[in-house]
């Protein structure tokens, strides 16, 4: 593998999850917001999969883990919290959610999404943001959020053809 973006490389997954949850805990403490059991559980499920997860898939996972029914508002409220805190991103084209590897740092949402294996690789490209900002500015547009979703084949899947 020549190119290995974080989400793509083979890595110590347990360690990766642990770090993400630890970072989330610290971030929430420093902000004075509550990372409750439910919210933490949702974040953990999202990280364990390492691929975009739909709200209803999460619901089923929660129901199994807690051995009781979990209704949509429960999971959506947790997701809303995690989105607000920048701990996860929403992938619009998939109606799904994925963990953010660098919460805390304010950034936009740029993703490479593999149509075969469904992996979503988050890009860290401030320059791209600047160019988008400039183009939008030329049109007199005030940018609030940016969402770039590039679909195609990841390195692994492309070489597997």
């Amino acid at each position: 593998m020549e190119h290995t973006p974080i989400a793509c490389s083979h890595h110590d997954h347990e360690h990766c999850i642990h770090d993400a949850l630890e970072a989330a805990r610290n971030l929430c403490i420093s902000r004075g917001v509550r990372l409750t059991d439910l919210r933490l559980q949702v974040l953990e499920l999202i990280w364990q999969n390492h691929k975009p997860l739909g709200a209803y898939t999460l619901m089923e996972m929660l129901a199994k883990a807690n051995t009781r029914r979990v209704a949509p508002p429960t999971v959506y409220r947790a997701l809303d919290f995690l989105l607000e805190q920048g701990l996860i991103h929403r992938i619009n084209v998939l109606n799904a959610f994925i963990g953010c590897p660098s919460p805390g740092t304010k950034h936009q949402s740029y993703f490479l999404i593999c149509r075969t294996c469904n992996i979503a690789i988050e890009l860290d490209e401030p320059q791209l943001g600047q160019q988008i900002q400039r183009v939008a500015g030329d049109a007199g547009f005030t940018v609030e959020t940016q969402a770039l979703e590039v679909s195609g084949l990841c390195a692994n899947c492309a070489s597997a053809v």
Copy 2:
């Protein structure tokens, strides 16, 4: 208005719709695909509004125009056809569809979406595409489609605050 992207400027709307439909007809003829009454009707409704329209809004419009019930698959099939032919784009963040001002020319989907008036301004920025292509290539990713959805305030709404 200093900056006037196509979708934003005051223009002869009838003329604009007419041109779009004419272009669509020609494109379909040259490709040997059938722009049926239904498909044309959907395309026309989308252009008449000039703002992203949801599938169910379209359904109601069709039902009224045709004075009979129209079921979801009917409108979704027409939308699928128009998407395939590049005559419309899908705005993921709005679950809505909008006419493409330059079908025929292969291009990606870059939109500025005003959260107040809901207008969606399509950008024509091949350079942006190149930069995205480059960034994705650096990650070993093979790009198939790009979707950029920038949310914020359009020039009109920003000045109206």
